[in-house]
Symmetry: C2
Subunit: 252 residues, 2 copies
């Protein structure tokens, strides 16, 4: 029996991403420089939210931000920069939890995450990045760019770092996807013993993003990775499919 195997190949050597850059083109160039040929079908490309935000001009100079009164108040309570809090509020529908320096909000996309994804890491001094306006659309555009530029049919995952209620530490998950379903659904399938599975819907888009993080790291200058050898579920799912509606969420 041949061993099932997947490979996660980091793509480094991208230039600093600038507003308006074509991520698909940068990926193809970086792959070529590294001697990696993306396969015509079957590869999954994972890219960090950070470079997508940079390309989509979702970078804000804090010097240009004028905090309002609510931001000023919350900034004092959380000991954050009031301009950062102002951006968090603008990016959010509501505050979900606030405790000490922690501010967890529901973003306009519906993601529940720390600081609405407003983040000062891996961007220049005095700048912060916001999440893409629509990460699923962003993934779709990268996917279309790879198809048009090189005839590739890949799935695309935009990865982001998420905290987990009840569990310490963060993992990378899928903030946006294109060309695949978010889940592999085992419900109703029989195990080898004839037992019908009832509850196993695996969020494989999140697992792909986490696997890619293992080669991308936070500081390694590897903002993209190819997952090769995984028979991902083709389809037109979205990362929004993974957001549990409040009425189904036992922990809200």
């Amino acid at each position: 029996m041949a061993a099932p195997e997947l490979r996660v190949i980091g793509l480094g050597g991208l230039p600093e991403v600038r507003p308006g850059d074509d991520i698909a083109a940068l990926i193809l160039e970086a792959a070529e420089r590294q001697g990696i040929r993306l396969r015509r079908t079957g590869d999954v490309l994972v890219v960090t939210q950070k470079i997508v935000s940079k390309a989509e001009e979702r970078v804000v100079a804090l010097a240009d931000v004028e905090p309002g009164p609510e931001a000023a108040r919350l900034a004092q309570e959380t000991e954050k920069d009031p301009r950062v809090v102002e951006l968090i509020l603008r990016e959010s529908r509501r505050i979900v939890r606030q405790a000490g320096p922690v501010l967890i909000t529901e973003t306009r996309h519906g993601f529940v995450c720390a600081n609405a994804g407003v983040d000062a890491s891996n961007v220049g001094q005095g700048l912060v990045t916001l999440l893409p306006e629509d990460p699923d659309r962003s993934a779709g555009e990268i996917r279309a760019g790879l198809r048009e530029g090189a005839g590739l049919e890949v799935a695309v995952v935009i990865s982001d770092t998420f905290g987990r209620p009840g569990r310490e530490g963060h993992t990378n998950g899928a903030g946006g996807i294109a060309g695949m379903e978010a889940f592999v659904d085992y419900v109703g399938r029989m195990d080898p013993y004839g037992y019908e599975l009832r509850v196993s819907t695996l969020a494989v888009a999140d697992e792909l993003a986490g696997a890619a993080e293992l080669v991308m790291g936070k500081l390694s200058g590897v903002p993209a990775a190819i997952v090769r050898g995984y028979a991902y579920p083709k389809g037109s799912g979205t990362a929004r499919d993974m957001i549990r509606p409040a009425e189904r969420d036992l922990f809200r």
Copy 2:
């Protein structure tokens, strides 16, 4: 620049695991049959909780279980088998959430999960498996077995399927670990722009378990995988490190 790369190699062809079986020995035999040589250092071995539970005699015949009055009551509310509910209660410290058929408890280990890990899948008719008594210890025993049997120094992750509050679907996470830390901590490290990271502690043991799930699947008869090429954080961490204490948990 050479591309950083990791491989996830599924190990199939294990025999049906029976009480008292030596998982380390079964892994070495399966690897040899597949022509896979584990490296002396650097590999991470991921094995499913299911085969560990079977080897550790954590399999219960429902016919032998006598449900008590609380189990009988809860079984009616959740429409579960009263004998399964009895086992769930025995395995739990407390019920965390109950809604319709969903019963989320805190296990005696401290894991917050559905049904305390009591599971009827991938085991014979009329049987259920319980979680290992101490999955970190189980991982340590497998690790020791690989060292003694073949001179290997690998990290071991016992994977399990977890739901996520706020997010649809399950992912595999680490229920037990040995020979590694659960986290890679970026807090205090500088990004390439001179910004000091403040919040990024990556739960890489969970990401390893998720990556392995992509080759193991739920039904594929691949109960173990080797992750090769990942410079995992050596150490003596535990999966318990990932359980957020209730007082730090904003969502409890």
